[in-house]
């Protein structure tokens, strides 16, 4: 009789546990979001993405991020992408143009269908990532960070900021399509604005700084085009600027923080933050093919006052109203 009772109670307990587990775990699986970035320099985008997701109502229990970083090595990026794809995430957020292009290449070769949000790509249509801005039509959508189209505007703003500049040295990367497109855009703007530009391909020579140094004249300035190599050279460019008393304009706030005079473009954080909207829309069932590619919500014009002082140049007081002023030296220390 005792054995019967024992078996009876054991059966009831087992059924209770199974049923309770089934009921309580029904909707508890977190969504896996894959993140791919070329290097830790894009980490600000990831922070922005997480912040944006939090503000849209996604907490850590509902979202799981699988982050893969190429450690600024383009060659290893493919393997990281493979690792990420093997994890079968619900969608992938590519934190830059180079990552997005590589991801597209691999996905197409392996016929993988995972929605992708690019958190800031210059000229995605021209790069072949989307068919149309309003209807991307494929697996990719995200933010056109406008850095290509914005290149001409940056030339104008730079000229307005420092009206004394007579020649602009344009740093671009011949191997990066975006960089080349941006150079074309700058060329067109220079023509409209009647400004002289000199282009320098950073991938052409390892010693372009010394070559450029030999060509620098008074009232010259440097305008940096988009491209991850150029982004990674921001400190060297800042150092060059300081050494040669030549004002430089970049794209990102971190470049001004590194010692460049000014930057005009969308920030990494903002791009990540804005991409959260795309992630949310896809999670809610939208196809990336239907979600229009967006321009940046914010274009920031940042001027480093400290650098301006170091360069000893005068800035246009009108345009300075558009700028956010910071006071950091080349080491990034506030003064």
């Amino acid at each position: 009789m005792k054995t019967k009772w024992y078996l009876f109670l054991l059966t009831i307990m087992a059924i209770s546990i199974v049923t309770y587990t089934y009921i309580s775990n029904k909707d508890q699986k977190p969504l896996n979001i894959g993140i791919i970035m070329i290097g830790d320099s894009r980490y600000e985008k990831l922070i922005g993405l997480k912040k944006g997701m939090q503000e849209l109502g996604y907490d850590d229990r509902s979202i799981k991020y699988s982050v893969k970083s190429g450690k600024d090595q383009e060659k290893t990026l493919a393997s990281h992408i493979d690792d990420l794809i093997n994890e079968k995430p619900a969608l992938i957020v590519a934190l830059g143009g180079i990552e997005t292009l590589k991801l597209k290449e691999i996905m197409e070769s392996q016929n993988i269908k995972i929605p992708v949000v690019f958190a800031g790509v210059a000229a995605p249509k021209e790069m072949g990532l989307i068919e149309d801005y309003r209807s991307p039509g494929g697996l990719f959508t995200g933010i056109n960070n406008y850095h290509t189209s914005l290149s001409g505007k940056r030339l104008e703003i730079f000229h307005n900021l420092v009206p004394s500049i007579s020649r602009f040295h344009i740093l671009y990367d011949e191997e990066i399509k975006v960089s080349k497109l941006s150079l074309e855009n700058v060329g067109a703007a220079a023509e409209r604005l009647s400004l002289e530009i000199i282009s320098w391909n950073v991938s052409d020579s390892n010693n372009f700084f010394s070559e450029m140094k030999n060509d620098i004249q008074a009232n010259d300035a440097i305008l940096v085009m988009p491209g991850f190599k150029l982004e990674s050279l921001s400190k060297e460019i800042a150092q060059f600027s300081k050494e040669n008393h030549i004002p430089v304009m970049g794209l990102y706030e971190n470049e001004t923080e590194d010692g460049i005079l000014a930057s005009y473009g969308t920030s990494y954080f903002d791009q990540g933050y804005q991409s959260a909207r795309f992630v949310s829309s896809i999670i809610q069932g939208n196809s990336p093919a239907d979600i229009p590619v967006e321009m940046p919500d914010n274009i920031r014009f940042i001027v480093n006052q400290k650098v301006k002082s170091e360069l000893g140049i005068e800035l246009n007081k009108d345009i300075i109203h558009l700028a956010e002023l910071i006071h950091l030296n080349a080491e990034g220390k506030s003064q």
Partner: protein, 696 residues
């Protein structure tokens, strides 16, 4: 349907009923509670959803309206500044403060861009660049605030133009601002919503400009009240936009549906548990019952059952114990019953009497073998009175027809056995108190009394002959006296005739002859009386005169009385009615009793005979003052062959025969005697005699 279910349930074993009961008792309350909450929570949930949606839309509309108002106010403020040099600075400031502004322009009265500050484009206006759309241009002429349509820029981004008109030098100029809508749209589109609710924004033409389902973007939404949706809408008055929040009712009610489903799951779970408990309980309660039933069937089939051992102290334990005791007792009683039956069979079969069970309808349902041997088996379906008595109607005093009489109908019946042999049967009917209806409520007890009756007849005849033998000398003396008288008269007459006596005239001769005739008659009467008494006969029922019977009886013993000089005192009630019965048999009783009285008197005694009618009975009293009967002999006086008389004086059958005859009359005989004082015998016979023997 319900009836068939109930019928099915009734036909199920108890364990199934316990299971069904358990399931019903566990699920119905849960389902009722779940349904109650489901029906009550639903409207409350609906109201909460609507309230939440309204709150959210108010916040969103507030934010959008606030942003547009801010831009307008700033634009109005900046339009008031006349210095052209300051304008660019201020416009840069405007772009800095509001990230949604794409460009700010100043248009002249022709609507052409005079000055431009752009966030993305070069600040160089195109030649003769017209900034206003056609609609805006119409509004430009009459309104101070102008709202454009939602358009798309070259990058496919939704933008909207607004303008604030101001007068400068008498001409209508405007500050135009292009606003990027992607932030507003993105904010609405990407807002995380629970339960598949969604928000969308319609422009003034009813086109969707923001929707969480991007496939719906830029499509026209029909203005139809969808009953399948729970939703609210807020109008942005100035912009003419409408913001709508909707949620399909199916998803809105999902929490309570889920709750209901969970309730159902709990109900299923509870049902499962209760089913297990019910099955266990059913088996716990019914297993002993099944064992009991099995043993009961064995018991019913007559097998010896083994005791049921249940280690429980509840009612079932007590029941099993009671069953064990009962089966043991039943076993013992069965054994006793078998013994009793065996004895009864022996008795029934060996009793020498026929037994039968008879219903109230006189149908014979059972007979013992002896009775079966007496009657024809083919006639067994006949009523008992026909079967046994050969009658067409029930017996007159049968307890079946007259249960109030409380008698056994102790009746002698004649039954033809074979072609010639007729047998006498005494049958008695006993009502059975515990009879089963239809199986025979009465027991017939039938005895073959043919030999007994023949013996009785022989005894009576023997007794009669014995009495005649004893009275033979008396008869001789009785006859001798008239014969002597006749002889004297005849001799005298002959002598006188031979002597030719003249005195012998006719008168005297007639006297002689009359005397001879009188004495001859007397002789004749004596001999006739004697013959009548001695005749062997069955019961001859007739109406007879009691007085005459008494006189006839006395005539037979007259000589004995005279011989012993015994005084005879006869007292017969006047106007005694005739009696029904056999007068010879009554005469035999009286003769026997008078003879006994004569024998009890040595010399000169008195014998009294009286006959009266009392209470519808004839009471005959014969008393003497003889020697009386000793007490020790009183018990035996009616026994056959018991006599205290010397050998040759009596057979010992007298009183026994008297007893038998009086009993046949349905009467009683009682003897009172005192030694030395005498004996009185009282015979009481009912006036309406029912004879035991069938006289037909």
């Amino acid at each position: 349907m319900m009836k068939s279910i109930i019928h099915w349930l009734h036909s199920q074993p108890m364990r199934v009923k316990v299971l069904v009961f358990g399931i019903i008792m566990s699920t119905i309350p849960l389902l009722l509670i779940s349904y109650y909450y489901y029906s009550n929570v639903k409207p409350d949930l609906e109201a909460r959803i609507i309230s939440k949606q309204e709150l959210m839309l108010k916040n969103l509309t507030g934010e959008i309206e606030w942003e547009f108002n801010q831009i307008f106010q700033q634009a109005q403020f900046y339009s008031s500044i006349r210095e052209k040099e300051d304008r660019r600075t201020i416009f840069y400031d405007l772009l800095l403060k509001n990230s949604s502004i794409e460009e700010v322009v100043i248009t002249n009265e022709s609507g052409k861009v005079e000055e431009k500050v752009s966030r993305y484009e070069l600040n160089i206006p195109d030649t003769n660049e017209r900034w206003f759309s056609d609609e805006m241009w119409v509004a430009f002429r009459s309104e101070d605030r102008i709202y454009g349509k939602v358009e798309f820029n070259q990058f496919g981004q939704p933008v909207m133009k607004i303008a604030v008109v101001y007068l400068e030098n008498g001409s209508r100029n405007a500050v135009g601002i292009t606003i990027q809508l992607q932030k507003i749209i993105g904010q609405i589109s990407s807002l995380k919503q629970d339960n598949l609710s969604y928000i969308y924004l319609l422009d003034r033409e009813g086109k969707v400009i923001a929707h969480q389902d991007y496939r719906r973007l830029w499509h026209q939404i029909p203005d139809v009240d969808n009953k399948e949706m729970l939703g609210v809408r807020e109008k942005l008055t100035d912009l003419g936009w409408t913001i709508i929040m909707e949620q399909p009712k199916t998803t809105a009610y999902e929490p309570i549906n889920e709750m209901f489903m969970k309730g159902l799951m709990v109900a299923v779970f509870v049902t499962l548990i209760v089913s297990l408990i019910s099955i266990y309980a059913g088996l716990y309660f019914t297993a002993p019952i099944i064992v009991l039933d099995k043993e009961m069937r064995k018991l019913k089939a007559g097998y010896v059952v083994s005791p049921i051992i249940l280690n429980r102290n509840d009612e079932l334990g007590q029941l099993s114990q009671s069953f064990n005791e009962m089966s043991q007792e039943l076993h013992e009683k069965s054994l006793r019953l078998k013994q009793e039956k065996e004895r009864l069979d022996i008795v029934v079969n060996g009793i020498g009497a026929g037994l039968a069970l008879v219903t109230k309808n006189f149908q014979v349902t059972w007979m013992n073998p002896l009775l079966e041997g007496w009657i024809n088996k083919e006639e067994i379906k006949l009523p008992c009175y026909t079967l046994i008595g050969g009658m067409t109607t029930p017996c007159e005093n049968c307890p079946i027809t007259c249960p109030e009489r409380n008698e056994n109908a102790d009746t002698i019946m004649r039954m033809q056995k074979g072609k010639r042999e007729e047998r006498l049967f005494r049958h008695r009917v006993f009502p059975l108190t515990h009879a089963i209806k239809g199986e025979g409520e009465y027991l017939l007890f039938i005895e073959d009394v043919t030999e007994e009756k023949q013996m009785e007849e022989k005894m009576i005849q023997t007794d009669k002959l014995s009495a005649l033998g004893l009275m033979a000398s008396s008869f001789a003396h009785e006859v001798n006296n008239p014969l002597a008288t006749i002889h004297v008269y005849a001799e005298d007459l002959i002598e006188r005739l031979e002597q030719s006596d003249d005195a012998l005239d006719e008168d005297e001769m007639a006297l002689y002859l009359r005397k001879i005739k009188e004495n001859t008659d007397r002789c004749k009467r004596i001999t006739e009386n004697l013959l009548k008494f001695s005749r062997k006969s069955n019961w001859n029922v007739s109406h007879f005169d009691i007085k005459e019977t008494i006189q006839n009886s006395i005539s037979l013993v007259e000589y004995s009385l005279k011989k012993k000089k015994i005084l005879l005192d006869v007292s017969i009630q006047k106007e005694m009615p005739c009696m029904v019965g056999d007068s010879i048999k009554l005469m035999q009783v009286l003769v026997n009793l008078i003879n006994n009285s004569i024998d009890a008197i040595n010399q000169e005694g008195t014998v009294s005979i009286s006959a009266v009618q009392q209470n519808r009975r004839f009471v005959f009293k014969i008393s003497d003052n003889g020697c009386g009967i000793p007490d020790q002999d009183m018990q035996k006086i009616f026994d056959p062959f018991f006599t205290t008389k010397p050998v040759g004086k009596g057979t010992g059958l007298g009183l026994s025969v008297c007893y038998g005859i009086v009993e046949e009359f349905g009467g009683t005989i009682m003897v009172e005697s005192r030694i030395g004082k005498g004996t009185t015998v009282i015979v009481s016979i009912p006036a309406e005699t029912r004879f035991k023997e069938d006289k037909q």
